[in-house]
Amino acid sequence: MKKVQFKSSYSQYLFLAPQLGILLIFLYWPIIQTFRDAFTMQDAFGFGTQFVWFDNFLFIFDDPAYFIAFKFTIIYSFVITLITGSIGLLLAVQANNVMHGKSTYKTLLIWPYAIAPAVVGVMANYFFSERFGLLYHLFNNLWGFNWYESVFDSYIYVIIAGSWKQISANFIFFLAGLQAIQKSVIEASMIDCKNSFRRFWTITFPLLMPTTFFLIIINITYAFFDTFGIIDTTTIGAPSGETRTLVYKAYMDGFRGLDLGSAGAQSIMMMLIVLVITIFQFRYIEGKIHYN
C-alpha cells in the first residue's frame, strides 16, 4: 500500500488551522481565563488584580449558600434524570406500539424539545402563579402548596418546569433505540415468553442500555447547565437560594455580584464535579453495558 504524504510540511497545519482556531478561541482561551480569575482577585472593572492562591476557593467553601446550591444541583439532576428517563421511555414504548397515526404522535411528543428553557420557564410561571396558576391552585388545595415559602414545593415547581421539555429528548432517543432493535430478537422472545411486561425488562430494556446510558449523561448535563434559563424565569432561587443550581450561583456571583474570582473558582469546581461524574459513569456503569 502506498503511503500518502503531504509534500509540504506546512499544508496540514493550514487545514487544521480553522478547527484549531475555533478550539483555541472558544474553548482553551476561556478555560485559561477562568483559571486566571479563580486564582486572582480584582475589582469589578478589572483593576487591582492580585494573585491570591486558593482564597477564592476557601471563600466558596466557607459559604453555606454554595453547599445549598451543591445539594440542590445533585438532587435536581438525579430527579430530572429519573423522571425524564422513565416518562420518556414509557412514551416511547407506547408510541412504538401504536399502529395508526404513529408519526403524528411522534411529532407531537417531540415538539417541546424545540422550546428554549427560558420560554419553558415563563410558561411554567403561568401554571405556578399565585394569582392565576392552575397547578398552583390545584396543589394549594391539596396540601397548601406555596413555592416561595416551602423548599419542597419549590422543588416541585422547578422539577416540573425542568422535566417537561427534556422528556421529549428522552422520548426521541428511546424511540430510535427501540426501532433499532432487530425484529427477529423480539419475535423470538415472543415465542419464549408470553408476559409482555417480563419480555420488556429481560430483552428489550437490556438492549436499550446503550441509549439509557447516553441519556443519563445527557440528562445530568442538562440539569447541571441548561436549566439556567428555567431557574431564572421561575423561582430565581427562592426560597432563600434553595433552588439555585451551581451554574446559577456562579452567574449570580460573577455577573450580578461582579465577583469574578468567586465565579471562576465555582466554575472550576463545577468542571471537577462533572469530570468525576463522567469518569465514574464510564468506569463503573459502561462496563456493564452490552453494545450488541
Binding site: E130, Y148, S240, M252, G257
Partner: protein, 435 residues
C-alpha cells in the same frame, strides 16, 4: 425592477438622512424598561430635536443589574458608552472607579466643559448620595426615588379607618380590622431596600461601621447588634404569622400584585411605581413610609435615595464630551426635571425643578408627587445620607437568603440577623481587598 430601484432609492435616502452630516454620537445606556424606558427615549429625542450638533442614542440593557454588568463588560472590552445609568447598590463601586480612570466625576466634567448646572443646583440629599467621601459629586443624579407607602383608600373606608398610619404602632393597631374584613393589611416589594437599608435611615441609625462607609471602608454591618432592627424583624414575623403581612416571593411585581388587584390595603414600594399605577388602581394615596415611634421618639427621619444616577465613563473624544456636557445641562434644566418628575413619580432632583413646580402650583394639581421629595428632605438626621459599602448587590442576596427562613421559622430572628452580618462581613472584606 423599477419597484426594486425605487425601494433602493428610498433606503439610500433614509440611510443618508439618519446619519446626516455626521452628527457626534453620544451613547447612553440605561437599566429601565417598560414605561420608564419609554420616558428615557423621549428625553433623548427631545434633546436631539433641540439642537443639531449631537445625537444621543439611548440603549436599554434590561434591568439595573443587567445594565451595570453590560457597562462593565463593555469597559473591559474597550467599548463603553459615554453615559450609563447605575443604581444605588452599585454607587460604591462606581465612586471607587474614579481613581482608576474609569469614571469621570461630574464636578470635574462640569468644570472642564463648563456645564451650567453645577453641583449646587442639585438637592443636597440627592447630591450627597452620589458624592465621594470629600463631598465631591461623582454621579449625575437622575431617577431618584425612595420607598413610600401606597394605601388603598377604598379598603380603609370600608373597614372604617380614616387616616393612613404614620407609625408602625398605628399600623399594628389597625391591621386586625383590615384582616378581619378579608384583606391583606400589608405587602412590600423589597426586603433589603425597604426593610433593611431604609429601616436604618428612617430611624437615624448607622447600618455599617466606618460611619456607613463614609469615614472608613466598612468591615461589618450592624444588623444583629441594633436592637431596634431586631425588634422590627420580630414584629414582621409576628405580623406574618397573624396574617397582617403577606409575603409573595422574591419578585417585585408578585408582591405589588395584591395591591393592584385591590386585595391589600398597604403596599411599600418605590416612588417610581406611581406612574404605572395611576389609573390602574382606583383610589390610592402615596404616603411616607411608617417608622417606629418607640425608636425615634416621635421624630421622622429621611430615607435614602433609591433609584439610579448616570455616570460619565472615560475613554472618549473631547468633542463627544462636549456634547455630553450639553446633554447633562439639558437634563438638569428645570423643565426637563419637572417633566421627568411628573411622568414617572421620581423625585425632582434640581432646585430649579422644585422651584418651577412651586411656581406653577404643580403639587396642588398632583399632591402625591410631593411625598417623595418631602420624605427625602426631612431634616435632623445625624447619619450620612447614604452608605458606601462594596459588594452590596451580593449583600442584598445574603439578606434575602436569611429573611425567608426567618419568616417561616426555620431559624430565629437573632440567628438570621447574625447570619446576615456574617455573610456581609465576608463580602465587605473581599471588596476591601480589591481597593
Amino acid at each position: 425592477m423599477k419597484k426594486i430601484l425605487s425601494i433602493l432609492t428610498i433606503l439610500f435616502t433614509f440611510s443618508f438622512t439618519s446619519h446626516s452630516y455626521s452628527k457626534t454620537e453620544i451613547h447612553w445606556w440605561y437599566g429601565n424598561s417598560g414605561f420608564l424606558g419609554d420616558v428615557i427615549i423621549e428625553i433623548a429625542n427631545r434633546f436631539n430635536a433641540s439642537q443639531d450638533q449631537y445625537t444621543v442614542i439611548p440603549t436599554g440593557k434590561g434591568s439595573y443589574e443587567d445594565n451595570m454588568a453590560a457597562t462593565i463588560a463593555a469597559f473591559r472590552a474597550g467599548d463603553q458608552p459615554h453615559y450609563s445609568q447605575v443604581y444605588d447598590a452599585g454607587a460604591a463601586i462606581m465612586v471607587a472607579q474614579v481613581k482608576n480612570g474609569v469614571v469621570i466625576g461630574f464636578e470635574d466634567m462640569a468644570e472642564k466643559y463648563g456645564i451650567k448646572v453645577d453641583a449646587d443646583n442639585y438637592i443636597p440629599g440627592i447630591k450627597n448620595f452620589y458624592a465621594d467621601s470629600d463631598g465631591k459629586m461623582i454621579g449625575v443624579p437622575f431617577n431618584s426615588s425612595t420607598c413610600l407607602m401606597y394605601a388603598n383608600m377604598d379598603i380603609l373606608k370600608k373597614v372604617g379607618i380614616e387616616s393612613v398610619p404614620k407609625t408602625y404602632e398605628e399600623f399594628e393597631a389597625m391591621a386586625p380590622k383590615i384582616k378581619a374584613a378579608g384583606y391583606i393589611p400589608l405587602v412590600q416589594s423589597h426586603f433589603p431596600w425597604i426593610w433593611t437599608e431604609n429601616f436604618f435611615s428612617r430611624h437615624n441609625l448607622l447600618m455599617t461601621d466606618g460611619n456607613n462607609g463614609y469615614d472608613a471602608v466598612p468591615t461589618k454591618t450592624l444588623f444583629a447588634e441594633t436592637d431596634a432592627f431586631v425588634m422590627h424583624w420580630k414584629k414582621v414575623k409576628e405580623w406574618y404569622e397573624k396574617g397582617f403581612y403577606g409575603y409573595k416571593g422574591r419578585a417585585w411585581g408578585d408582591n405589588q400584585a395584591p395591591f393592584i388587584a385591590g386585595e391589600a390595603a398597604f403596599w411599600f414600594g418605590s416612588a417610581a411605581s406611581f406612574g404605572g399605577m395611576k389609573g390602574v388602581v382606583p383610589n390610592f394615596t402615596v404616603n411616607h413610609i411608617p417608622y417606629w415611634d418607640s425608636v425615634t421618639g416621635g421624630k421622622e427621619y429621611p430615607t435614602f435615595i433609591g433609584g439610579a444616577a448616570n455616570w460619565i465613563l472615560n475613554g472618549h473624544t473631547e468633542e463627544e464630551y462636549k456634547g455630553l456636557a450639553k446633554f447633562i445641562e439639558f437634563m438638569g434644566s428645570p423643565e426637563m426635571d419637572l417633566y421627568y418628575h411628573n411622568m414617572t413619580g421620581y423625585s425632582a432632583v434640581t432646585k430649579g425643578g422644585i422651584e418651577l413646580a412651586e411656581t406653577i402650583n404643580f403639587y396642588r394639581a398632583s399632591p402625591y408627587h410631593k411625598a417623595v421629595g418631602e420624605q427625602l428632605s426631612l431634616e435632623g438626621s445625624t447619619i450620612p445620607g447614604g452608605y458606601r459599602a462594596g459588594n452590596w448587590p451580593q449583600i442584598r442576596e445574603v439578606i434575602y437568603e436569611n429573611v425567608e427562613p426567618m419568616l417561616n421559622g426555620k431559624i430565629s430572628i437573632e440567628k438570621g440577623l447574625k447570619n446576615m452580618d456574617k455573610g456581609a462581613a465576608k463580602l465587605l472584606k473581599q471588596f476591601a481587598k480589591t481597593l
